[in-house]
Every structure is written in C-alpha cells, then in structure tokens.
C-alpha cells in the first residue's frame, strides 16, 4: 500500500471552505432517495388503484390471483365473481372467511353433489379438497391426506361412529341412481365405516363382503362350477362356455351388462314344452305385468296350440286346426291326468326328468327341454292362486361405496381376481376378489396407484353409475366440449 503524501490534517484542510457539505445531498444519494420515494409512491398508488378498481376490473383481480384457473373452470376464469362473492368488502377487523360463499357458488353448477355421510363430524368446504389457482392444466387430484384427515384420525372417527349411532339407518342408505341397475345393499356396520387407517395396503378394512361373509340374496339357482367345468355342458356358438359368454362389458367397459334369461340362458335352457314343436315355448315372464302369463298359458293351452297352428304352421282350415290341437292335447293327456298336475310339473319340477308329452332325450349333447320353473327359480306353493315364483334379483353393482373399472384391468384374466368361481356351486357365494387380491398390485410394493380416489368418491352417496357417465361423455362429444 502506498504511503500517503498528506496526513489527515492536510487532507482535511482541503474541506475548509465546504464544511457543511452534508447539508446538501450528493446527487448519488439524492437519486437514491428519489427512487425510493418513487417506489413507495408507485406501490401505494398502485395498491389504492387496485383496491378501488378490484371490484370492477377482472384484470386487477386476476393480477392478484394466487395462480391460474384449471382447464375445467377456464370458461369462468376471467370472471372472479363466479366464485368470489363481490359483496365481501375489506374489513381489517373482521377477516372474511369466504369458504361458505365459495361453496354456495360451487353448488350453482355442481348441483348433483351430496356431501359424504351424515355422520361426518368435520365440516369441510369444497375448496378444502378441490384446490384452484394452481395452474391452468388439469385440476389437482384430491390427495389421500384430505381423506386421512378424518379416516386417519382416531378421535374424529370415534366421534363419527358415535354420531352415526344416533342417526336412523335410512340416513345412510345408498340411493341408487335411477338407471334400472340393481345395487347390492350391504348392511351398515354398527360403528359405520370408521376404522382408522393410513393406507389401502395398510389398515384399510377388508371388503365388507368378505369381512362380514355377506351372501348374495338372489334366489336364482346358478352353479358357476357346473357351467364352467362340467363336461356335459354343450358348446354354444361352437365355443366352450366361458366367463365372457354371459359377462359382457357395458359401453364404457367399466362394468358388466346385466344378465338376462333371453341373452344369456335361453340358448341352452329351452322353454320348449312340446318335444315335437321346437318353437312352441312356455312364456318366460320378464316383468311384473307378465307375472301370471305362465298359468294363463297353461289354462289356455288348446288356444295356444290353435294360435300356433295358425301363425306358425299356416293352417287356415278350422278342421285341420282342430285336429292339430286335438292331437297335441291327446299327447299331453297321455302323461298328465289333469290340469293341476300339468301346472305342478311346470312350476315345481326342478330337474330334467319331467318331459311333458314325450320321453327324455338320450343324446348328451341334445338341447334340454323345459325342465320346470323350480329348476332355476324359487317356487312357493299357494293355496289360492298359482304357485309363486320369486323374482330373481341379480345385482349389477356390488361395491356401492367404491368404483371399479374392468376396462382398466383388461390385460388380466378373469380368474386372476375371480378364481373362486370354478368352485362356486351356490348363487349365495359372492365371487368377488378380496382386499388382499387388490393389494397385490394396488400398493407401493405392487407399484400400481392405490390412492383413496382410485376407488372412492367423496360425493358417493349415489352409487356408481356408468350409464350417466357415458351419457355425459356422449353429450360432451356431440357438443364438442372438452
């Protein structure tokens, strides 16, 4: 460092004529002060203008937005009032908690939503789970944390169970969508669905069907084992009977179509009651209006033969028609002594050993004739009227609290999840996979997503309804909407 040629006193003497220099700001300091003042002024003025115009100008509102609006709400992204109530004014002493007003705005469009179960003890707002202002892409999916706030908290679950005990069971009844589908209605556990857990692979309860050993209440007699493994089951359409013959996916592929006699059974299970006339068949009632059609058919058997002779055989001569009817009725009378016996055979026969008007087939592959209602149905005798055939009710949806998508599992074979069907002999056995089967894949170890939202909806009081969803998708496609 060079040595100064002047000492500080000599240097200070240079200031002799300007010792009050600090009274006047140096241009550099003055510029800094002016800029600082300008910045504060700009900030304050900008804030005042913004707050004054915030209620009128969308741009001013959008400027302060905490983020972009998701694509689903993009049509209202520029109109803040669609969600934020403009009636709320600045009140520094009374912060405005706007959740309630925003919820009301949500429900203007999302009218179909109901809010979880009536035993909920934590009041949640729409925006607690559905977060907006997080970007213009897809809306963020609901995180498990939102669900586990309650379902992972023992205190909340206990309170929820207590609240549920004081509510009538009808409050919890799942109201099926009006779509003609049949929903399996499991009984609600005494404590409700309040088991505390943190993950699906962890302590998520076993499915209620297996846990409570629930049975299918359907009275239809069906043996999966026989249909899938018995050797004397005839080929259908040239193929061996398999799952896919009866269980066909619906339009979305998520669920299976309803099973019906006409579509799935009649090809093998004939209604033919006259062995000489293949197309002379007993009616199979399909609705409440046809409940008496079998007995009516039997009571008017000569008329039915006459109608058959006219319509199917093309007979027009009354003598020929009478001869045909007489011939067929004689054949029946050879086996059946009186009308009551005929009715008993038709309703109560439960094996292929009753063949009206003829002998049993001897060839194994020959189509069976009508074996009697009780072969498949529950038939109860009635002293005053015709025997009562219990209407079979086959559920279309088994998990009313969860969703399932068969299409998403299309790469798997049926038996991978429903392997027990090959040993299932009774209709009462519900051949659905258990939780452990799902956890094989749907777990961190299995590597497949296992979030709550994978299977459950928070707003799931109405049971899953693929028909509504497909209609909605179709409507969107037609309207060109995203």
């Amino acid at each position: 460092m060079p040595t100064p040629r002047k000492n500080q006193k000599q240097i200070a003497q240079r200031y002799a004529g300007n010792r009050r220099y600090f009274k006047n700001l140096h241009p550099f300091r003055r510029a800094r002060l002016l800029l600082a003042f300008a910045c504060v002024l700009i900030g304050v003025v900008g804030a005042v203008i913004y707050l004054k115009s915030g209620q009128k100008s969308h741009r001013a509102e959008a400027f302060n937005s905490s983020g972009g609006i998701s694509q689903y709400h993009s049509r209202i992204a520029q109109d803040c009032k669609q969600c934020h109530d403009p009636a709320v004014k600045i009140d520094l002493l009374k912060p405005a908690v706007m959740n309630a007003s925003i919820d009301a705005k949500c429900e203007v469009c999302h009218v179909q939503h109901t809010f979880h179960n009536p035993n909920t003890v934590v009041g949640l707002s729409c925006i607690d789970c559905h977060h907006e202002h997080l970007g213009t892409g897809r809306m963020q999916v609901v995180k498990d944390g939102n669900c586990l706030t309650c379902h992972g908290n023992a205190t909340i679950m206990q309170a929820s169970a207590q609240k549920g005990l004081g509510l009538p069971p009808t409050e919890f009844q799942v109201k099926p969508a009006d779509n003609g589908l049949v929903y399996f209605q499991p009984p609600r556990p005494a404590q409700g669905y309040t088991q505390v857990f943190q993950s699906f692979a962890g302590k998520h309860p076993d499915f209620q069907i297996q846990r409570d050993k629930l049975t299918d209440p359907n009275t239809l007699k069906f043996d999966h084992k026989v249909h899938l493994t018995a050797k004397d089951i005839p080929m259908v359409d040239g193929k061996k009977l398999d799952c896919a013959y009866c269980h066909k996916p619906d339009s979305r592929g998520a669920y299976m179509q309803s099973i019906s006699f006409a579509k799935n059974c009649q090809a093998c299970h004939s209604l033919q009651i006259d062995p000489t006339l293949a197309d002379f068949q007993i009616p199979h009632p399909t609705g409440d209006s046809q409940i008496n059609s079998v007995r009516d058919f039997l009571l008017t058997l000569p008329v039915q033969y006459a109608t058959y002779a006219t319509e199917k055989k093309g007979l027009t001569n009354s003598t020929q028609i009478a001869a045909f009817v007489n011939d067929r009725m004689t054949a029946i009378r050879q086996r059946i002594r009186q009308g009551a016996d005929l009715e008993k055979d038709v309703f109560f026969a439960d094996a292929r050993n009753v063949y009206l008007g003829g002998a049993a087939p001897t060839t194994p592959g020959e189509r069976a004739l009508f074996p009697g209602c009780a072969y498949c149905h529950e038939v109860k005798p009635s002293a005053t009227s015709e025997p009562l055939v219990t209407k079979p009710v086959t559920p279309d949806r088994w998990f009313v609290h969860a969703r399932f998508d068969h299409a998403a599992h299309i790469t798997m074979k049926c038996e991978a999840c429903h392997g027990q069907v090959v040993t299932s002999e009774k209709t009462s056995e519900i051949n659905l996979p258990d939780k452990a089967s799902c956890v094989t894949c749907h777990s961190p170890k299995g590597g497949v997503v296992s979030t709550c939202a994978t299977c459950h909806d928070y707003h799931n009081k109405a049971a899953p309804d693929s028909k509504v969803a497909s209609d909605s998708a179709l409507r969107q496609m037609m309207l060109g909407q995203p």
């Binding site: 040595t3 240079r14 220099y21 905490s66």
Partner: protein, 316 residues
C-alpha cells in the same frame, strides 16, 4: 460490512433456524417423509390438520406464520437506511443492525419458499417473488463488493477524501491548474522567472523561449484544464497514469528546467484528480447497487403489505 468471524454465531443461528422451519414445514405438509427419516414429531393442534386441507400453503396457519415472519423481516431490513440516518438513537449498534440485516434476510429465503409452498402463484405473487429475488441478488452482489472494493481503495487511494467533498476539491484543483496556467502565461520572454507562490521550489535563473511557453499553454488549455474540469474523463490521456506521465514528460522535455517545477505542480494536480475519479468510480461500485436495492426493498415492503391485506381480507 465484512463477513468475518464475528458473524459465526449469526450464521449458525440462521442455519439452525432454517433447519427448524424446514422441519416444521415438512412435519406439517409431508409428515410421511419425516417418518421415513425417523424425525417425525407432533405439531400443536392450532396449526390445523396434518397435512393441511388447503392446497395453497400460504393460507394455512403455518404458511401465514412464515409469511408474517417474512414480512416482519422485510420491514426490519428496510428500516436499516433509516437507522443509519439516526446514528445517535439508542436502538443498538449499527453493526448489530447490519449483521441482523444480512442474516435475517438470508433466513427469509426459507420462510418465503415455505410460505408459497414452492409455487409461484398468480401475477402479483410472482411479481413479488421476482422482486424479492432481485433484491436478494442485488444484496448478495453488494455484500460481495464490500469484501473487494474497500481493499482496492486501501491499495489505490491512500489519501481518500470524503466522497461528498470530491466536487468541491475538484473545483479547487481546477482553480489551482488555472493559476499555474496564468503563472506560465505571464512569464516574461527571455526573463528570469520569479519565485512562485505555489511551493514550486527555489526560483531558477534561466531564459524562457516564447515557443516553449506557447507549447505549455496549449497543453494546459487543450488537455489539463478540460481534464480537471470534467467529472470522469477516463478517456482523456491524462485519465490514465501511464499516458499522463508520458504527456508531462514530453512537455517537460520541451521546457527549460526553470519552468518544470510549475509543470510538476500541474502533474500533481492531475494525479490527484485522477485519484478522485478512481475514488468516485469505486464509490459507485461500492454503493451503486444500493440505488436499486434500497428502493426495490421499499417497494417490496409496500407490495407485500398489500399482498397480505388482499390475501387475508379479500380473497381469504
């Protein structure tokens, strides 16, 4: 402010506080991660559900706490300029304020990051973040310069003057240069120069040719006085030491020895002017960042307050 050993406690304190707020943030927002690290701990119930129900971290109780702490640090940092202008107030030593300014603003980085949940948000929050980033970068830049520039000034400016006096001293130098010019111009031809009053040493008896005086006057009028008058003049030949020395050496070769003391005086004046220019330049480097850092900081404080009001009371 030089960051030296006296800052060690501040640094450790800031590091510990940063780790603390990070752990609390994770305990509140991602407890699973802490469980994996065996670091999970319960949070008080008034912090709300864990993890928070709201997607916007800034609106959660913990986010609001972090945001408020960040705003208070901004306000404190912005008060430094006021504190420096009120040196006599009994509010703690300015050195302590400077250290707190550096380390608390550093601590504000995790607070801001956790407040916004690593999410930019809309235009206003994004603008605030960019402004904050700009202020932090300019602050780091200023801190780095303060470690370099003072050493340069010690090395190159042994006779540093009060910065605000520089224009006044420059005026003095210009007046001295003009006086030397008059002295030279008034020298009688072929005469013996009188002993000057500028401390140029003993008078020398020698004849002065008119041509030499003319050359000296031309140099003074054309180069020296404009250089002394100008504020910076880095592009002048006299603005650089090597070229300045060459110029004066050439001039002195043209002049008889009896005038050379006057020229040497003039050279000293130009050298001092050059040192003043260097001091001015280094001063601008040392403090120039403040011209954007300080106003931007005030703007950040104002807009952050507006952001807090708007977020809390309008779009809660």
């Amino acid at each position: 402010m030089i960051v030296d050993r006296t800052h060690v406690r501040w640094g450790i304190g800031t590091l510990i506080a940063s780790i603390g707020v990070a752990l609390v943030y994770l305990a509140n927002n991602d407890p699973e991660l802490l469980r994996k690290w065996h670091l999970d701990f319960p949070l008080p119930a008034w912090l709300g559900p864990v993890p928070p129900l709201r997607g916007n971290v800034g609106a959660t109780p913990l986010g609001l706490i972090y945001g408020t702490a960040g705003l208070l640090i901004f306000i404190f940092a912005a008060l430094l300029g006021w504190r420096r202008s009120k040196k006599t107030l009994p509010l703690g030593r300015i050195q302590i304020w400077l250290k707190a300014h550096i380390w608390l603003t550093l601590f504000s980085i995790p607070l801001v990051a956790f407040h916004c949940g690593f999410h930019g948000g809309g235009p206003m929050p994004q603008f605030l973040l960019w402004l904050y980033a700009f202020i932090m970068v300019s602050g780091f830049w200023g801190l780095a310069l303060q470690h370099v520039i003072p050493k340069l000034m010690q090395e190159y400016l042994p006779e540093e003057v009060i910065f605000e006096e520089i224009p006044y001293i420059r005026g003095q130098l210009l007046a001295q240069g003009a006086a030397i010019r008059e002295d030279i111009a008034n020298l009688p031809n072929e005469s013996i120069p009188r002993a000057d009053e500028h401390g140029g040493g003993a008078a020398t008896l020698a004849a002065v040719s008119p041509g030499a005086i003319k050359a000296a006057i031309e140099f003074i009028d054309g180069d020296a006085l404009p250089y002394l008058k100008a504020r910076g003049s880095r592009h002048s030949a006299l603005g650089k030491r090597q070229t300045s020395d060459s110029q004066f050496r050439l001039l002195k070769l043209q002049l008889p020895p009896n005038i050379q003391p006057l020229v040497e005086q003039l050279q000293d004046i130009c050298d001092e002017k050059r040192r003043l220019d260097l001091q001015t330049r280094l001063h601008y480097w040392l403090h120039g960042w403040l011209i954007v850092h300080a106003p931007a900081s005030l703007l950040l404080v104002v807009l952050t307050i507006v952001h807090a009001i708007v977020a809390a009371y309008i779009y809660a």
